[in-house]
């Protein structure tokens, strides 16, 4: 068994290792956004009229909205008319079997370490592969169908399960929710759809791997996961992008719905291209993720390891509506060089005896800024609600910033909300201790940081914990010494 740290060193030499581009012929919409482009996207995807109308309505709302400015992130204005809103590898139709996939795309995923195969390292994981604006493959569909589980791209879901999509789409994140959600609602291209029927425990991890490849495009995926009564599903998303000097926009929307006694575990290992060490290029990651604990005793748990993107603006949230429902947020956010992250969660307690737990670990290095921003809101009717929040920040070097901005709003006297936060650095004592045992300084930092994050890392599905642990080490390379 080789140690994670060693592997990192061998594989990467300290660079972003997912930054290559794939020479595949793509069909790209002309830059710009207007009603015609939206109609074009909708038509290309063969969508029903109601969805085209829904998109147009979102677009009209978006036009009346302004970009949010409250986050602690700074970037030049985005020209939304300069972005292409659709890019897809040229293919006549979606391949019938996994063997028919364009070899270039196949190679891409192999290089990324997630081969399009139903075997070997990913034997316990079903994967939906999203390449720029479209889903190119989904593994293990058959096996899942036998259990009544629907796992497919959202485009297929619109076609094959319109009643489910229509019933739930936009119910957790309405099209007018915020600027980026409205934009996404207007132009979303693909993403994953999951439905787990009553009483079914999904036997494998479901995963979507997002890859931005084309230049000058944005990615606007939309994910919708519905866990019916008493069901369970664990879902994971991963993402990477080529190294480009330009900034690319990623504005996703994820909606989760958990009915009575259902549980959804949603994990993210976010590794979009962060830009180079001088802050050039990188993905702008403006994402709206929200889960609705609709049923009693339902549970939604978000786990995120955020190491990529030039800018991260992301607050996976839980609306705890069902009585005794539970929301969890476990987060590790690492920023280095010129990265900026403003991330956290919202826990809205509506139902009686609802509980939430927030564990956030922020690590800032280089000249980066890392902000935790979170809201705990306990409504008048949320009798006996409980929240516990722990936010820890670690600073590496004296040119970075770590910030904690919690909002706690309580309107019920029987509720209890507790928030604790600390800020510290890696102590010289710890570093020396590791080094005196033979571990190099850089490996010692990775080791200590991994320890600092362990509570969160332990929440990740096994298959991805190792990968995530490596990522932490890579992200911080060059931050000491």
């Amino acid at each position: 068994m080789s140690s994670a740290i060693e592997t990192v060193r061998e594989v990467t030499g300290g660079e972003y290792k997912w930054g290559f581009t794939t020479p595949v012929e793509e069909e790209t919409a002309p830059p710009g956004l207007n009603e015609d482009i939206i109609r074009m996207i909708s038509k290309k995807k063969g969508e029903p009229d109601w969805l085209t109308a829904w998109r147009l309505e979102a677009y009209r709302r978006w036009q009346a909205m302004e970009e949010p400015k409250w986050a602690k992130v700074h970037y030049p204005p985005i020209d939304f008319q300069a972005i292409s809103y659709f890019a897809a590898p040229k293919q006549k139709e979606r391949p019938k079997s996994l063997d028919d996939i364009d070899p270039e795309i196949r190679r891409t995923y192999e290089k990324l370490g997630i081969p399009i195969r139903e075997q070997e390292i990913l034997a316990g994981v079903a994967v939906d592969y999203v390449f720029d604006s479209v889903s190119v493959a989904t593994t293990f569909k058959q096996k899942l169908e036998e259990l009544g589980i629907i796992f497919c791209s959202i485009s297929e879901a619109v076609r094959d399960h319109p009643e489910l999509v229509r019933k739930y789409l936009g119910t957790v994140v309405p099209p007018g929710d915020n600027f980026y959600a409205a934009l996404n609602s207007a132009v979303f291209t693909d993403g994953s759809f999951v439905y787990v029927p009553k009483g079914v425990r999904c036997p494998m991890e479901l995963s979507t791997y997002f890859r931005i490849n084309a230049a000058g495009t944005g990615q606007f995926e939309r994910t919708l996961i519905i866990a019916d009564e008493g069901s369970y599903v664990s879902y994971l998303e991963g993402c990477t992008a080529p190294m480009r000097d330009e900034n690319q926009l990623h504005a996703a929307v994820v909606e989760l719905i958990a009915l009575d006694e259902a549980e959804i575990k949603y994990s993210t290992v976010q590794n979009w291209y962060p830009g180079d060490k001088d802050g050039k290029g990188g993905i702008y990651n403006f994402v709206t993720k929200r889960g609705l604990c609709k049923g009693r005793r339902s549970k939604i748990s978000w786990t995120q390891v955020e190491t990529g993107s030039a800018i991260t603006w992301k607050y996976p949230s839980c609306i705890l509506q069902g009585e005794e429902s539970v929301g969890e947020f476990y987060s590790v956010a690492v920023t280095n060089n010129h990265q900026q992250a403003d991330t956290g969660t919202k826990m809205v307690h509506i139902g009686k005896r609802t509980r939430s737990r927030i564990v956030s670990k922020g690590i800032a290095a280089g000249r980066s800024n890392n902000t935790y921003r979170g809201l705990v809101k306990i409504m008048r009717g949320a009798e006996g609600a409980r929240n516990y929040t722990q936010c820890d920040s670690l600073l590496i070097g004296d040119r970075c910033g770590a910030h904690t901005v919690p909002y706690i709003e309580v309107r019920n006297r029987s509720a209890v909300a507790e928030h604790e936060a600390t800020t510290s650095k890696i102590s010289d004592d710890q570093l020396f201790y590791c080094r005196s045992r033979g571990i190099s300084e850089e490996d010692a930092v990775a080791l200590i940081v991994n320890g600092f994050c362990r509570e969160v890392m332990d929440e990740l599905p096994m298959e991805f914990a190792v990968e995530a642990r490596k990522l932490l080490g890579i992200s911080l390379e060059g931050s000491v010494g």
Binding site: G397, P406, V410, A415, A417, T423
Partner: protein, 448 residues
């Protein structure tokens, strides 16, 4: 379309300014007149905050201040009430402001030690007008419209100066009485406190009053502590419920200076304290303790920012709130550690107790850290009384209601016990008991 975050002051302000500016203190001095005009322009530029301004997210003040009110005049206040608020002991010196205007006849500033001076701004306007502009000009980066509004409209105020090493034994009390029995209006008093190196002062500030007429007090304080100076500043705010009190303090500490600030907000329809502490020299220390107890429809907002600008400073914020009725309490405390402020120790705790189903607490304890070798932490809690403590008391034979009252009082007591002046502490305790449900019974049974 962007929704407006701030709004222009109502034209009534402009009218008032035009009408009053030739009668305001120091108006004969061109420099000061110009400063007032500048300040007024800044108010218009910044605008008055709506709740869409982040710093005002939980407090809407616009309805109370958007229209100009007449500038308040001093009255003959009820002396018994004034006397009841005296604190600091028989030796204490005292400045009494009625409706925001310093009343020399009621004040007592005689026999000050050498090197200590207390002067009213009005008197300075007559005798040393050249000093006024410097004493009333807000910092250039000042972003609060209310600070500029004060600079434009102030009518009264005091300057307290201690030369190096001067350490008067007796406390100085500033007593603000709002006589709202007949007069509605606004007032913009101003305080300047300057302690030379090694000087020490115990400053007590009391706010109270009577009456139903709506009054708005926009108090601005500028405090500077020289190297190694020490200020104990204790504040009790208990104006009538008809009153709006906005108290903004900017406190600068040089190296090795020490500030202890104990503040209890125990009355007033809307009270907002804005405390900005700048630790500008290494080794400076600031201890900020606060208690707030809004009841009925009262609203209290504690807005605290501690700026760690230099290395090796220490700050500790300890704020507790008890909220009943339909009241709302807001705490927004921020620790800011600047790039050079290595070896900072900064702590912040905010604990809240909700007594009713219609009360609300909004707390926002923030850290903003740009230096790595620091120890900073904060904690915030909102909740009900500790059930195990309640059980313990009941197991010892106390009825539930009494046990609840006792624990509620004890919750406040943790702040009260830090108050240095026994008279003031007694006055605060009295008001806390009045506000704790069943507090009277506690007292009657000799439990407190």
């Amino acid at each position: 379309m962007a929704r407006a975050r701030t709004v222009l002051p109502d034209p009534s302000y402009e009218e008032l300014f035009t009408r009053a500016r030739n009668r305001l203190p120091g108006s004969q001095l061109p420099e000061l007149a110009e400063l007032r005009r500048q300040a007024w322009r800044r108010v218009c530029e910044i605008g008055l905050p709506t709740s869409r301004v982040e710093e005002w997210k939980y407090t809407s003040i616009l309805g109370r201040v958007q229209k100009a009110l007449p500038l308040l005049e001093a009255t003959a206040p009820p002396l018994e009430q004034l006397k009841a608020a005296f604190a600091g002991g028989v030796e204490a010196r005292r400045l009494i402001f009625v409706n925001g205007r310093l009343v020399p006849e009621l004040s007592h500033t005689g026999g000050l030690p050498d090197g200590m001076a207390i002067t009213s701004l009005e008197r300075l306007a007559a005798r040393q007008p050249e000093r006024l502009a410097a004493l009333t000009r807000p910092a250039e980066e000042e972003g609060s419209a209310f600070a500029w509004l004060n600079a434009a409209f102030w009518t009264s105020g005091a300057v307290v100066e201690l030369a190096a090493g001067v350490r008067p034994q007796a406390p100085l009390q500033l007593l603000f009485f709002q006589d709202a029995r007949e007069q509605a209006g606004m007032t913009h008093p101003r305080l300047v406190v300057r302690l030379g190196p090694g000087a020490r002062l115990h400053l007590i500030e009391s706010h109270l009053g009577e009456g139903e007429a709506g009054q708005w007090v926009n108090l601005v304080g500028a405090v500077e502590l020289g190297e190694g100076a020490e200020l104990v500043h204790e504040v009790m705010q208990a104006p009538p419920q008809s009153a709006t009190l906005l108290a903004r303090s900017r406190i600068q500490l040089a190296a090795g200076a020490r500030l202890v600030r104990n503040i209890a907000s125990l009355g007033g329809g809307l009270v907002r304290n804005e405390t900005e502490v700048h630790l500008c020299g290494s080794g400076a220390e600031a201890l900020l303790n606060g208690l707030y107890m809004p009841m009925e429809r009262e609203h209290v907002d504690q807005f605290v920012r501690v700026h760690h600008e230099q290395p090796g400073c220490h700050s500790d914020q300890f704020f507790k709130g008890i909220v009943g009725g339909k009241a709302r309490a807001v705490f927004a405390g921020r620790i800011m550690v600047y790039r050079d402020a290595q070896k900072t120790n900064a702590y912040q705790a905010n604990n809240n107790l909700l007594l009713s189903d219609e009360a609300e607490v909004d707390t926002k304890p923030e850290l903003e850290i740009f230096a790595d070798d620091v120890k900073c932490s904060h904690g915030a809690t909102v909740g009900a009384l500790d059930p195990s403590a309640l059980f313990y008391l009941r197991a010892r034979g106390l009825p539930q209601a009494v046990a609840e009252s006792l624990l509620t009082y004890a919750f406040a007591g943790e702040v009260l016990e830090r108050v240095v002046d026994p008279h003031l502490r007694g006055q605060m305790a009295r008001r806390v008991l009045d506000r704790v449900p069943g507090g009277g019974a506690l007292e009657a049974e000799g439990l407190v």
